[in-house]
């Protein structure tokens, strides 16, 4: 933790044109919505967004797509966002589709210092095109490259002021993994507790990984 909790607009100010953003969430569940709103309001463009999906138009990550701020999305799914499909087909937005399990492991590899991911998922499909195949003990694996972000923008149920994070139910999804894999991690907790009252065993992301917290909603 670098300083006091930030207002959403202060956090959005940290993000430059063309940044690579890892954004938590699964169809908007567990996405940092106030942070996304502030980035959309500020209107900084040319972003690369790495996320599970592009959500829906007018919701979550879909707002960044609607506003034309996303130059490239690395995601597993855009099926529920016709605006993302339209922009892809029109050549206004580049889309890299990655199998969901491969996507989360590529981010983890980027976060924990591994050189890549060896997965059978995608072998014999379009996903394998242009990728190195490594045979290990008679089975083929794709060598998938690590992913890191300039920023990770994550949602959390609860934090303390050293940045320790807890998550809840299906709002975990990509958040704990993304917290490992960016130069700057900004977390949007629903609650912030005093230091020392969260049990060490309840912490899923240690505060040493988190650079900034967003203020609680007023």
């Amino acid at each position: 933790m670098k300083q006091r909790a930030l207002k959403p607009e202060e956090a959005a100010e940290l993000i430059p044109e063309g940044a690579v953003l890892l954004i938590g969430g699964f169809m908007g569940v567990g996405s940092p919505h106030r942070l996304i709103d502030a980035i959309a309001a500020r209107g900084v463009g040319g972003l690369t967004v790495v996320a599970n999906d592009t959500c829906r138009p007018g919701q979550g990550i879909g707002k960044l797509v609607d506003a034309g701020l996303v130059a490239k999305a690395i995601v597993s799914h855009i099926g529920l966002n016709p605006e993302a499909q339209r922009r892809m087909i029109a050549g206004e937005m580049e889309i890299e589709l990655v199998p969901q399990g491969t996507l989360v492991e590529r981010i983890r590899a980027g976060g924990v210092g591994l050189g890549g991911v060896l997965t059978h998922t995608g072998v014999g499909t379009l996903v394998a095109e242009g990728k190195q195949i490594i045979e290990i003990d008679g089975r083929k694996y794709l060598l998938e490259k690590p992913i890191r972000g300039d920023f990770a923008l994550i949602d959390a149920r609860q934090a303390d002021y050293v940045g320790n994070l807890e998550y809840t139910l299906t709002a975990h999804n990509f958040n704990p993994i993304m917290a490992l894999a960016a130069d700057t991690v900004i977390a949007e907790p629903h609650h912030i507790m005093p230091v020392g009252v969260i049990s060490p065993d309840a912490v899923k992301t240690p505060g040493v990984l988190v650079d900034y917290l967003l203020e609680r909603a007023q």
Binding site: F26, P99, G101, G122, L169, T170, P176
Partner: protein, 217 residues
């Protein structure tokens, strides 16, 4: 009985005591309602919960507890929250006993295509490639034909989801098991003859003796 209900009821019969099961969105998600509670099955939603329960009563929805389709769900007693790395670790690591997915095409090798139609629909593969690669049993639940055209074909013309043979195909007309010898017709749909199934199927079917009708109870 509705076509989808026939399929969902028949797929439910594949579920065994104590299994961990992933149901895709749409038709596959209907399977849960036909699995008896006393089988102690845990349903996984790949977005992060093991022990998915039915839709909550109105007014008791929680925005942080949804299935992979974004619908509100509940958690059964003994449920566990998992992140995406654990979720797909379970899937790819062979810990998932069964997955039920929709299909666009299945071919005579048992290969499935269910994630894109080139030049048309490119929603993304989501978790499908990992599910088909990693689950112990892969069950394709789909209607037999699409606009009069067979979805069970000699060779998939659409891009494959994985290089793995699926375990079973369940449609309203047939239960078909891909094997080394080809697509074996195991059961006929209600009121459907073997000839009806063959007539509606572009792929070659292997028929061993008498083919029973689905027993849907």
């Amino acid at each position: 009985m509705d076509v989808k209900e026939i399929i969902a009821r028949r797929v439910a019969q594949e579920v065994r005591e104590g299994m961990l099961v992933n149901l895709g969105i749409g038709l596959p998600s209907m399977v849960a309602s036909f699995v008896p509670d006393d089988m102690h099955v845990f349903f996984q939603a790949e977005n992060g919960v093991i022990g998915l329960g039915s839709r909550p009563p109105e007014g008791m929805e929680d925005r942080d507890l949804t299935d992979a389709g974004g619908g509100f769900v509940t958690a059964v007693p003994g449920a566990a929250s998992i992140d995406s790395a654990m979720s797909f670790g379970l899937i790819r690591g062979g810990h998932l006993d069964m997955t039920v997915l929709g299909g666009l095409q299945v071919d005579e090798k048992g290969y499935l295509a269910n994630w894109m139609v080139p030049g048309k629909m490119v929603p993304g593969m989501g978790g499908a490639m990992d599910l088909v690669t990693g689950a112990k049993r892969v069950i394709v639940a789909m209607v037999h034909t699409q606009k009069g055209k067979s979805k069970i074909v000699p060779e998939c013309t659409l891009p494959l989801t994985a290089d793995r043979r699926v375990s079973l195909i369940v449609t309203e007309m047939a239960v078909i098991e891909p094997t080394d010898d080809g697509l074996v017709l195991r059961e006929r749909g209600p009121g459907v003859s073997v000839e009806d199934v063959q007539g509606a199927t572009e792929a070659a079917l292997v028929v061993h003796g008498e083919v029973p009708e689905m027993a849907l109870g």
